[in-house]
């Protein structure tokens, strides 16, 4: 399967502050990849590089084989872009904005747009600026669906949306992407939503990639173990098998890719006295925090 997005050895700094060095990522054609990271980990930087709004210090990103710094109009027509906060031309109403965008895209299909608009309780001449955040998100989504792009780049689509609109957005998006074999590259700071949407996950921490893999494999292999240790001074964070180690008094959380047997035998071998050992079921958000740490 070919890659819709391929970034090779990306390095970027803001002044002297390094965002990342030699970052390489790829998104397979027809897959939905979620880029997760804490604030400042480089999510928006990556989105900006992908859209050609930022020149990396070195390295390159290719979309359908073209360098994102010099995308041709034909390739740009294949990319749907949702700006963080569902930014659109807010001085237009829903009729004007549909008329505006339809002039640019040869595959423009207004049906899905108007289907979504029919669910909104907005006036015919109501400007987008006077709509709620949720309504604006539907306008932005409807426009992308009407554009019928091959690749959708969504920057924090969940921002400002209440749970109902988030669910509506995700369900629509996933059904659309799978039915039409679209590729999606998305970020969101509400990670629990991503679980319903994405196939692959890319987790970034400051300056590095912590995981890039199928989300189900990741959720299956990445584990959290809870235990209460007798000696609260114990610190396992430097151990190779420990991805993250959290401790409050004697209550310990170990995040690891190793099995329960491995961890138990390690504790036994090291003579670490403990009680209440158990594996804790995690959602994607728990796993994300487990991998990146709470701070």
């Amino acid at each position: 399967m070919s890659n819709a997005i391929e970034c090779n050895n990306l390095t970027h700094y803001y002044g002297k502050k390094m965002v990342y060095e030699n970052l390489s990522i790829h998104v397979k054609d027809g897959s939905i990849l979620g880029l997760l990271g804490k604030n400042g980990a480089g999510k928006t930087t990556t989105i900006n590089i992908l859209n050609g709004f930022l020149q990396p210090r070195s390295g390159e990103c290719l979309i359908y084989g073209e360098n994102t710094q010099h995308l041709t109009p034909a390739t740009k027509a294949r990319i749907g872009f949702l700006i963080e906060g569902h930014i659109q031309y807010s001085f237009m109403n829903i009729h004007q904005i549909e008329k505006f965008y339809s002039g640019f895209y040869p595959k423009w299909d207004k049906e899905p747009y108007w289907e979504l608009m029919s669910k909104l309780k907005v006036g015919k001449n109501q400007k987008i600026s006077s709509m709620s955040c949720g309504q604006r998100s539907q306008v932005a989504l409807g426009l992308i669906l009407a554009q019928d792009p091959d690749l959708l780049i969504l920057d924090d689509f969940s921002m400002g949306l209440d749970p109902g609109y988030r669910r509506l957005f995700i369900d629509y998006l996933r059904e659309y992407a799978k039915a039409k074999k679209k590729t999606i590259f998305t970020t969101s700071h509400i990670i629990q939503d991503m679980e319903r949407l994405i196939d692959d996950v890319l987790i970034m921490d400051y300056n590095r990639v912590l995981a890039q893999r199928n989300v189900h494999d990741f959720m299956h292999e990445f584990k959290q173990f809870y235990l209460e240790v007798e000696d609260p001074a114990i610190d396992l964070s430097a151990e190779e098998f420990v991805a993250n180690f959290e401790k409050v008094h004697n209550k310990v959380e170990i995040y690891t890719y190793e099995s329960e047997e491995f961890v138990k035998s390690y504790l036994k071998k090291k003579g670490i006295a403990h009680s209440n050992f158990k594996e804790v079921k995690m959602g994607l958000e728990d796993a994300f925090i487990g991998l990146t740490g709470k701070y």
């Binding site: 930022l54 872009f81 930014i87 001085f91 004007q96 002039g103 640019f104």
Partner: protein, 222 residues
């Protein structure tokens, strides 16, 4: 595609364009009401003498009208593009980014030109009714830099508003503050004749300056 860009630009500026053009018509009308009034109280020959030799031009009220119109149209056109960095939407459209900016600039220039032509037509029409060509031609020479200043203001606003880097913005404002007075110096009637071609060339060069701001935005400079 071009129709769509023009449609978007028109939606942004239509009320500002209509109000600016109405203002231009009103000012032209006011000037000639005043000329009519002065004609009633002076002999035509005396009035012409005052204009030609005493430096009392009848068109002074026009001086800042092109600048005010340009300011209104340019702010209405470019400011919405910078709110929430909305210009990203335009740059993501399947057209070359420079062509988009130049189309926006050309559309604004044409709107400005239409307003100015309406004003000039009224001005010239009424002038031929009251004055000989010895007065009209120097008058047109005198008001030419004022109209050129309108275009210059429009291009400066585009350059400044789209610029993503504050230090460059400040620098452009300083340049504009030095450059723009060249167009509106107080001078005797017709004395701008040798300067007008130079000012015209400078305005033409300035017209494409918004491409610099657009380029810096696309490179992610902050």
């Amino acid at each position: 595609m071009w129709k769509s860009i023009i449609y978007k630009e028109w939606l942004k500026i239509k009320w500002f364009f209509i109000i600016a053009t109405a203002l231009e018509i009103l000012v032209a009308g006011y000037i000639f009401i005043k000329v009519q009034h002065d004609f009633k109280f002076n002999e035509a020959n005396n009035y012409w003498y005052l204009i030609l030799f005493m430096g009392a031009p009848y068109f002074t009220y026009l001086k800042f009208v092109p600048i005010i119109s340009a300011l209104a149209i340019s702010v209405a056109q470019y400011f919405p593009e910078t709110v929430n960095k909305r210009i990203k939407l335009s740059f993501h459209l399947p057209i070359n980014e420079n062509k988009i900016l130049l189309t926006m600039m050309l559309f604004g220039t044409i709107c400005l030109l239409i307003g100015y032509l309406v004003l000039l037509t009224i001005f010239y029409g009424f002038s031929t009714f009251y004055f000989p060509s010895d007065i009209i031609i120097p008058a047109l020479t005198s008001i030419t830099p004022w109209f050129l200043s309108g275009f210059a203001v429009y291009y400066f606003v585009a350059l400044i508003v789209l610029e993503p880097v504050w230090k460059y913005r400040f620098f452009y404002i300083v340049v504009a503050a030095v450059f723009l007075p060249l167009f509106i110096e107080s001078a005797s009637i017709g004395s701008y004749a040798p300067a007008n071609p130079v000012l015209f060339v400078l305005v033409i060069i300035l017209s494409i300056s918004l491409l610099f701001s657009g380029y810096r935005f696309r490179k992610g400079e902050m």
